[in-house]
């Protein structure tokens, strides 16, 4: 059971003069590296620009990863059972994040204050928070502004609606 790299795709984003958006997507063979696609993308965008009268406003490079053992969700699992983390950044901003299907064994019930909270002393929870606050092997995540995370302010379970797209046919 391992997470392995899948193919990389490049998506170019265009905008016309009434602000409508459209995209072109091209794919790359598995052996292609992210660095190679980064170089290719800049050159390719320059070649696309002369053949469109829309504005080429951006591009995304998407590296896909997948589990090579075809993962199966546990019986009774529910993506709407969310683990919620409210984290303060070094710039004193608040970031709220969640993950689907939080397991019961990392939860603790509390009367005062009332609620179902995430046990911050749990080894797996502590590992996640460590990865958020101090990083993994020198790489640290951030909020979308690029601010590092500083400390967990709140951690609790919440039941919240999700899409029900059945995107995965597992």
């Amino acid at each position: 059971m391992a997470i392995v790299a899948g193919p990389i795709s490049l998506s170019l984003t265009y905008q016309d003069d009434d602000l409508a958006i459209a995209r072109t997507s091209v794919n790359f063979p598995l052996a292609t590296t992210l660095a190679a696609v980064q170089t290719y993308a800049t050159a390719y965008a320059a070649l696309v620009a002369p053949v469109t009268n829309c504005a080429l406003i951006g591009y995304n490079i998407n590296q896909e990863y997948y589990d090579d053992t075809y993962p199966v969700a546990a019986a009774g699992s529910d993506v709407e059972d969310k683990g919620m983390l409210i984290i303060r950044t070094v710039a004193n901003r608040i970031k709220t994040m969640s993950w689907p299907g939080i397991i019961e064994s990392v939860l603790v019930n509390s009367i005062s204050p009332p609620g179902t909270f995430i046990d911050l002393a749990n080894v797996s929870v502590a590992a996640l928070i460590g990865a958020l606050v101090t990083g993994i092997a020198g790489t640290q995540p951030s909020n979308d502004r690029g601010d590092d995370f500083r400390t967990v302010k709140e951690a609790y379970k919440k039941n919240t609606a999700s899409q029900k797209s059945r995107e995965y046919k597992g």
Binding site: A20, I21, A22, I61, I136, R166
Partner: protein
């Protein structure tokens, strides 16, 4: 200036529960961490195995680039008006690549039978784009997203694009946002 990376790249973890419903978790990493962020994405995703009973079935690591020169679309441009390039793949399938917007000056001119419909494949800009798609740039080349993977390098279902069959313009509905 020109293309600049966004301040952060996004890592999206895709989860699925036992009745097929899906949900996502998104985290960012600063652009300065990009060289190793792929390794981080895998290590970070592994942390959720003991924390979720849903199946973690896909991870997307997305780098975003924006043009800081604030490009302006031509008056009358329309993303639904597409330049369609139809390529042949090494496994004898066809792959359509469409580019939103159309430059009329790149079309064939009378008395050509396909004047106003087909693109002039001898146009230097058209030829350069086709070459970049079929033979690549600096050793990197795209592929069709499906197929048996005939060529050695295309082992994940992609098929090498080997030639251009035709190029023309047409309308394809796109998002209007």
């Amino acid at each position: 200036m020109g293309w600049q990376p966004d301040r952060t790249a996004a890592i999206t973890l895709h989860f699925c529960d036992d009745d097929g419903a899906t949900s996502r978790h998104v985290i960012n990493v600063a652009a300065s961490a990009l060289p190793v962020a792929g390794d981080f994405a895998i290590a970070y995703a592994e942390l959720f195995r003991p924390l979720s009973d849903c199946a973690l079935w896909k991870i997307n690591f997305t780098l975003r680039y924006l043009d800081d020169t604030d490009p302006v679309a031509a008056v009358g441009s329309n993303v639904n008006q597409r330049s369609v390039f139809q390529f042949s793949a090494v496994d004898e399938t066809r792959f359509d690549l469409s580019f939103p917007g159309m430059v009329a000056a790149k079309l064939l001119q009378p008395p050509d039978t396909y004047a106003g419909i087909g693109f002039d494949l001898t146009d230097v800009d058209i030829a350069a784009l086709v070459a970049a798609t079929v033979t690549g740039i600096g050793g990197t080349e795209p592929c069709a997203p499906w197929g048996p993977g005939v060529a050695t390098a295309f082992t994940w279902g992609g098929s090498d694009l080997v030639g251009l069959l035709t190029a023309f313009w047409g309308y394809v509905r796109a998002g209007r946002r």
